[in-house]
Structures are given as structure tokens and as C-alpha cells.
């Protein structure tokens, strides 16, 4: 099987591989803990601590309460940065160390986010309302703009390349990974850090609550009784390199970015659109040089709302027909981490390919005929995964589909 046919016709395109991953999530900090959590189907839901929850009928989330060994680093970072930047820095440090790349490398940073430094924005508004705008801290105004997150990561790791935030809401992780791959593929950089980050915040929680989109108990993607999302938070960062650069330094290759596709529904701000998602999957397949039958697993957007899961499965059926591959949602475990979500999905996919298992869709009780798909319910499944398709969809109809290939299938020959 020879993937990347469309690329091979473009002689100058450089193949792009993943050589490091870092993850800060509510079910595990770091690659090993995250791997173990995905395999065991760990799900953590807790009362929200990040903002005042007085007045909500219920207020729980997939919030990170235990940073373990990273807590000291976090506390020291949080003196200078907002929560999103802190989480991103922690994940980026892990990813760079995982790739065995030193600080100070000529590497760029592209991070996706939905709400940016949402807790800082909340704090600014609260201070304004209680004490007047003149009492808002200078540093809060300074750190509130979203680009400061990428800049903070670049500065912390001494990385001298591009430093960009992509704000395509809940698909932003895939947009960031895809763009970083483009930067390397086009020859503009050898190394890029990319991924996504978001922090639990009052504004998004209220908005989703108002849309009746927050589940009263746990997130149950594809289940007949699913009642919505669980807002989550975290950071997921990948180190991408050109294949030649990675081989040249003898790096361990975890996966290859085969390609990605982007489309826009141009239809409705919040309602997803099956035809547009199907088109996005097809664009991703074409750019990656794969056929539907090559896909061994779909890491779904799978938010656990009535609408998303039905529409997403309909789109998958349009492209794959009856032969759709297993389709899982790790949001059942980590909640909806917003701008980090599809980067979390990419990392879970890579871990699955590396360790020969499919992360489960937990909390599953009964199938729904409106979104009937093999969601690998409740227990991880052993499987040899060669190519995985990772979904990310967003408000505004911003769709992003990423195609990853197992690092084991690349071979050692140059």
C-alpha cells in the first residue's frame, strides 16, 4: 500500500512526521498516564472549581484538579500567564522532551483555541463590574489576547520560529496541526510544535448550558440516552518534523501526517451539516492519498449532543457506506476540551496506533438507530491501526479532518 500518491507528484513536498507528544488532561498528565487512562477507559467528572457556580442548576466538568508533579511548575507559571498559556506550556515542555529536542531550537508554534485566555477575560469583566475598569490589572489586559498563548510557549522554550494561534473554535486543534504540517511540508521550517488548549470558563459553560447542551451526568457519545457535552479543559501538543530531519537525528517516529482537509458549512453558526462534513472527509482523503477502505479508525468529534452525533454518523455513512470503521469519541472520557479537542484526538489516535488498541467510547448504555456505528463501547479493543482519521468540527461550520498514519509503517529506508 502506497499512501501519499498525490504528494509524490509534488516533488518538493516534504513528508511530515510526529516525533513527540505532550498532554495535560483531567484523566492523565503526560504520555504514559494518558495512555493508561485511554486503555482503561478512565472518566473523571467533578464539581467545577474554576469559577463561581452559584446559581446553576448543576455545575460539573472534566476539569483538571490534579496536576501531580507539574503543580509546582504550574504555580510558578501562573504568576505570569493565564491558565491557557500555563497548560499549553506544560504540554509543550513534555512534547519537546518526548521528542528529545533541546530548548532554543529553531522551531515554530501553532496552537488552536476556542476561548483563548477565557479566565482572564472573565476576571477583567468581573473586576470592571465590581471595582471599575481602572482597577483591571495591566498584566491582565496584556495577557488576554489569544496570541499570547503561542508567544508564551515560544518564549518559555526559547523557540525562534513562527508563533501563531488559530482560533477556529472547537476544530482549532486540527487546523493548527494541519497548518504546522503545511509549514514543514512546504519547506518553511523543519520543526513545529502544534496542538490546542482551552480552560474551563464561565462564559462557555453558561452558553452551552443555555443551549441545553450540557449533560446532567456524564458524556455518552452515540448512546440513545445522550444528553450533551461535558465541558473540559487541557492542552495537547505534538512535535512535527520533516521526515528527513527526524531521520537525520535518529528520532523515534510516532506517526506521519498524511494530510488534512478543511471545509466550511456556510450554513448555520451552531448546527452542523452532514454534506459539508462528508465533503471535508473527502478532501482530507484526497489530500492524504487514501481511500475510505484504508481508514482503520475514526476518532470522532463525538460531542455527545443529540445533533452532533447523528449528523457526524450520517456524514461518515455518506463517505464510507455500510463499511464504516470503528468510530470512537474520547470526549466520553476527557469531556469537550474545545480548542484542544482535536489535538487530544490526534494524540489518542497516535497512542492507539503505537500500542495496538482502540480507545473506547465509555459511558455507553444503548445504541441509537439514528447514529448506529461501532463506537467500541466501554472497553478498549486490541487492534492493529495503520491509518486513523481524526475529526474536529466547530461553531461557524469550521470543519477539519486530519489523516494520520502509524509511525511503524513508514519503514526505515530513506
Amino acid at each position: 500500500m502506497d499512501f501519499g500518491d498525490t504528494r509524490s507528484s509534488q516533488a518538493e513536498w516534504r513528508r511530515v512526521v510526529v516525533t513527540g507528544i505532550g498532554v495535560v488532561s483531567n484523566i492523565g498528565i503526560g504520555r504514559d498516564a494518558f495512555t493508561q487512562a485511554l486503555r482503561s477507559g478512565r472518566c473523571v467528572v467533578s464539581d467545577i472549581r474554576g469559577f463561581d457556580t452559584h446559581g446553576y442548576p448543576y455545575a460539573h466538568a472534566a476539569e483538571i484538579h490534579d496536576l501531580g508533579d507539574c503543580q509546582t511548575d504550574y504555580d510558578s507559571l501562573s504568576e505570569h500567564h493565564g491558565r491557557a498559556a500555563c497548560l499549553a506550556i506544560l504540554a509543550a515542555r513534555q512534547a519537546l522532551a518526548d521528542a528529545a529536542i533541546n530548548k532554543g531550537a529553531e522551531a515554530g508554534v501553532v496552537l488552536g483555541t476556542t476561548n483563548g485566555e477565557s479566565q482572564l477575560l472573565d476576571s477583567i469583566v468581573r473586576t470592571w463590574m465590581q471595582q471599575g475598569p481602572g482597577n483591571v490589572r495591566h498584566a491582565d489586559w496584556q495577557n488576554a489576547p489569544a496570541h499570547r498563548i503561542a508567544n508564551a510557549v515560544s518564549r518559555d522554550l526559547g523557540l525562534s520560529g513562527e508563533s501563531l494561534v488559530v482560533a477556529t473554535a472547537c476544530a482549532a486543534g486540527n487546523y493548527a496541526i494541519g497548518h504546522a504540517a503545511d509549514v514543514i511540508g512546504a519547506g518553511d521550517a523543519d520543526i513545529m510544535l502544534c496542538g490546542g488548549v482551552d480552560a474551563v470558563n464561565r462564559s462557555a459553560y453558561s452558553g452551552f448550558f443555555r443551549l441545553n447542551a450540557v449533560t446532567p451526568d456524564v458524556c455518552r457519545p452515540f448512546d440513545a440516552g445522550r444528553q450533551g457535552i461535558l465541558t473540559g479543559e487541557g492542552a495537547a501538543v505534538l512535535v512535527l518534523e520533516s521526515l528527513d530531519h527526524a531521520r537525520g537525528r535518529g528520532a523515534a517516529i510516532l506517526a506521519e501526517i498524511l494530510g488534512y482537509g478543511l471545509t466550511c458549512d456556510a450554513n448555520h453558526m451552531v448546527a452542523p451539516h452532514a454534506d459539508s462534513i462528508a465533503r471535508c472527509i473527502r478532501v482530507a482523503h484526497r489530500r492524504a492519498g487514501v481511500k475510505p477502505s484504508d481508514i482503520d479508525l475514526i476518532s470522532a468529534h463525538g460531542t455527545g449532543t443529540r445533533t452532533n452525533d447523528t449528523v457526524e454518523v450520517a456524514a461518515i455513512r455518506q463517505v464510507f457506506g455500510a463499511a464504516a470503521p470503528p468510530t470512537v469519541s474520547i470526549k466520553s472520557m476527557i469531556g469537550h476540551t474545545m480548542g484542544a479537542a482535536s489535538a487530544m484526538g490526534a494524540i489518542a489516535s497516535i497512542i492507539g496506533m503505537q500500542h495496538d488498541f482502540i480507545p473506547p467510547t465509555v459511558n455507553f448504555r444503548a445504541p441509537d438507530s439514528a447514529c448506529d456505528i461501532d463506537c467500541v463501547p466501554n472497553h478498549a479493543r486490541s487492534a492493529r491501526l495503520r491509518v486513523v482519521e481524526n475529526h474536529g468540527f466547530a461553531f461557524g461550520g469550521n470543519n477539519g479532518v486530519l489523516i494520520l498514519r502509524s509511525g511503524r509503517d513508514i519503514g526505515l529506508a530513506a
Binding site: 509534488q10 518538493e12 513536498w13 463561581d52 457556580t53 446559581g55 446553576y56 442548576p57 483555541t113 476556542t114 476561548n115 483563548g116 477575560l121 469583566v125 468581573r126 463590574m129 475598569p133 483591571v136 495591566h138 489586559w141 496584556q142 488576554a144 489576547p145 489569544a146 496570541h147 499570547r148 520560529g161 508563533s163 501563531l164 494561534v165 488559530v166 482560533a167 477556529t168 473554535a169 497548518h179 503545511d182 509549514v183 511540508g185 512546504a186 518553511d188 464561565r202 462564559s203 453558561s206 452558553g207 448550558f209 443555555r210 443551549l211 478543511l262 471545509t263 466550511c264 458549512d265 456556510a266 450554513n267 448555520h268 453558526m269 451552531v270 466547530a394 461553531f395 461557524g396 469550521n398
Partner: protein, 356 residues
């Protein structure tokens, strides 16, 4: 070998500024025509009800429904209204064989942080209402940073890639660089790319705090460019390259000079070919860096921020638009830097209209 940097055709530009909608009134003010007197914005105050005393150059006469009709316009925030309008006018002015490719055409907007008014008002409503979740479901989508780009797609039927990128005051460079790369890698045949920022209480206080100089006014507006990788005889300009990144702390001038040299090399342009220069931020360090690279002070175009005020995330887009109206023949360099150590530069050629 890297994929060659294709020159990108700038087919047209749409501008919104205190001078009104359009490139011509904007350029006229830069050439010396009177700018409307900076106005207080009391009439547009939201629930916060406070605005700093410093005035701003905002679009005082802008009436979105007069341009876009009344249906659905009231639910769009001002940033989005301006973006939707600029995109619609751009598409309307392009030849049919270009504008008809809406299935694949897309939008790339740069922004400092989305519609700050929408975000701040929504957060406020979680504290001011009967309960924190008793918020407006109609306003919620406006709080997401990609809402302006998404609405541009919805209103204009643009189903190709749709991205929103953030680089603070240099977001215009981010949008142009991102768009250039996407066109170069054939993700889309046509992209509408640029940046627009609205004037509101929240932005005004941010400006007041971060730019304490009382003479530093804030500007509302922005520019969106119609870009294509295909050579086009009717193009108004060519984008030859964009570079954006962080400067090494303590070696800013050297970092700027290095970035400009790398940009020239990547676009295969010689230093001798640069005929003019234009800065969006008006920083002396940029001039020093260019002196190092070129050995002589380049002809400088008017700085939009000095005439109109600081447009935040839209300042670079407005500066590039100004170059398309005012630059002499030949290739020029547009630069910008910010207090956080970001520096961006772009190579641009203005096409003078053919004489008929």
C-alpha cells in the same frame, strides 16, 4: 528544496475606516483630506456604560442595515457586519469566473481576540442576569473568535477553508501569511483575507491601559483582500512573501534585520529592488533595522496609525491597503512590530492601473 514561494495576486481590496467604506476615501485622508473629527461613542455604549475620555476614529455613520438589509443584521456584532460587507463587495466586484468558485473559495481573518464587545457583554450577562446561565442563546456564537469569518462564509456562500488566526496587533500579517501558504499549497483557488477590529468600551479601556500616551487614539476598521495564486492581469498588486515571528529578547533590531533578509532571500528579491517602505506601527527600531539591511533610508509611505489611530489587530491590513493606494512603482516592504516582541514583514508590489 522548498516549494517555491508563488507570488500571490491581490485582485482587489475592501476597506472600512473612519473615512467610510472603500479604499478611495481612506486613501484621500492619507493624502491629506480632512478626516471626520474623532467622536465620542456614547450612543453605542453597552451595559458597561463607561468609556475612557480619549476619543477615537471610528465609523460614526456606519449603518449595517443600509448596506446589508435588515434581515439578521441586528444579531451580528460590528466586527462581523463590517467583514460581511467587505467580503460581499469584494465578491461583487470580481469577474464571474473567479467569484463563481464559491464552493472552494474561503476566508482567512486575523483578529486580536474576536468581537471584544460580544465577549465582554456575554460574560457580563452571566453576572448581571437572574442566573448565570440565563444568557442570550443568539449572542453566544458571537463570543467565539471565528464568528466573523464564519458569518462571511454564511452570507456569501463561501464553502472552502475558513480560518481565523491571531497575532495581536500583527494579526493582519498572520492572515496574509496563512492565506498565502494555503493558496501556495492549493487548499483553495481564492481567499478573502484580512482583518477588521471594532471600537467598543472593552477595547477602548484595553487601549487606554496598554497605550498610555494620551495622543494615541484608537481606530476602528480594517481591510480584506481578494487573493489568488493565479496570475491575473487585472490584479491591483502582488504579495511576494510574508514573515512573522518573535524577536530575540535584547537583540530586537538585529532580529528585525535578520527577518527582513530571510524574507528577501525566500522571495528571491534583492535588497536593491526595494523601492519603498511602510510601517504599520511606526517604531524607530524598524527604521534602524532597515538601515542595517539597505544601507540607506528607504522612501517611507504614510503610517496609517499616525493619521487614523491604532486599529489593533487590523492595523497591518489597513497599512497594506494604504500601500496599494499610495505606493510608487516597484517592490516595497511593509513592517510592523509590537510591545510583546513580535515582528512581521511583507513584500508587496503595487500594480499601477493600465492606461487605456
Amino acid at each position: 528544496m522548498p516549494i517555491a514561494i508563488l507570488p500571490i495576486s491581490i485582485l482587489d481590496v475592501g476597506v472600512a475606516s473612519a473615512a467610510g467604506i472603500g479604499l478611495a476615501p481612506f486613501a484621500a485622508c492619507l493624502r491629506g483630506a480632512d478626516l471626520p473629527v474623532p467622536a465620542p461613542m456614547a450612543a453605542r455604549l453597552s451595559a458597561f456604560g463607561q468609556i475612557p475620555p480619549r476619543k477615537a476614529h471610528w465609523l460614526t455613520g456606519f449603518d449595517a442595515s443600509a448596506h446589508l438589509g435588515s434581515k439578521g443584521v441586528a444579531n451580528l456584532d460590528r466586527t462581523t457586519q463590517l467583514c460581511v460587507l467587505l467580503c460581499r463587495d469584494l465578491l461583487g466586484g470580481l469577474p464571474a469566473h473567479v467569484s463563481d468558485r464559491r464552493e472552494e473559495a474561503g476566508v482567512v481573518l486575523g483578529t486580536c481576540g474576536g468581537s471584544l464587545k460580544s465577549i465582554a457583554d456575554f460574560i457580563r450577562s452571566t453576572y448581571a442576569g437572574a442566573a448565570p446561565h440565563m444568557v442570550s442563546p443568539m449572542q453566544f456564537p458571537n463570543t467565539v473568535m471565528n464568528s466573523a469569518a464564519a458569518q462571511c462564509a454564511i452570507w456569501n456562500g463561501l464553502r472552502g477553508l475558513n480560518s481565523t488566526v491571531c497575532a495581536g496587533d500583527l494579526s493582519g500579517f498572520a492572515a496574509l501569511q496563512y492565506a498565502m501558504r494555503m493558496l501556495r499549497l492549493d487548499h483553495a483557488p481564492l481567499l478573502l483575507a484580512g482583518a477588521v477590529e471594532e471600537y467598543c468600551e472593552f477595547a477602548a479601556f484595553a487601549h487606554e491601559t496598554l497605550r498610555p500616551d494620551p495622543d494615541s487614539l484608537q481606530a476602528e476598521g480594517g481591510a480584506i483582500f481578494a487573493l489568488s495564486a493565479a496570475p491575473d492581469g487585472a490584479a491591483i498588486g502582488t504579495l511576494l512573501g510574508v514573515r512573522l515571528g518573535l524577536l530575540p529578547a535584547g537583540a530586537e533590531v538585529a532580529g528585525m534585520a535578520d527577518a527582513v533578509c530571510r524574507l528577501l532571500r525566500s522571495a528571491c528579491v534583492r535588497a536593491d529592488d526595494i523601492a519603498w517602505w511602510s510601517t504599520a506601527s511606526g517604531q524607530e527600531a524598524e527604521a534602524e533595522a532597515l538601515d542595517c539591511v539597505f544601507g540607506t533610508r528607504l522612501v517611507a509611505l504614510p503610517c496609517v496609525a499616525e493619521r487614523f489611530g491604532h486599529a489593533g489587530g487590523a492595523s497591518v491590513a489597513l497599512q497594506v491597503a494604504a500601500c496599494l493606494a499610495l505606493a510608487p512603482a516597484g517592490i516595497g516592504l511593509v513592517t510592523a512590530s509590537d510591545a510583546g516582541g513580535q515582528f512581521g514583514c511583507a513584500l508587496l508590489r503595487r500594480h499601477t492601473p493600465a492606461v487605456h
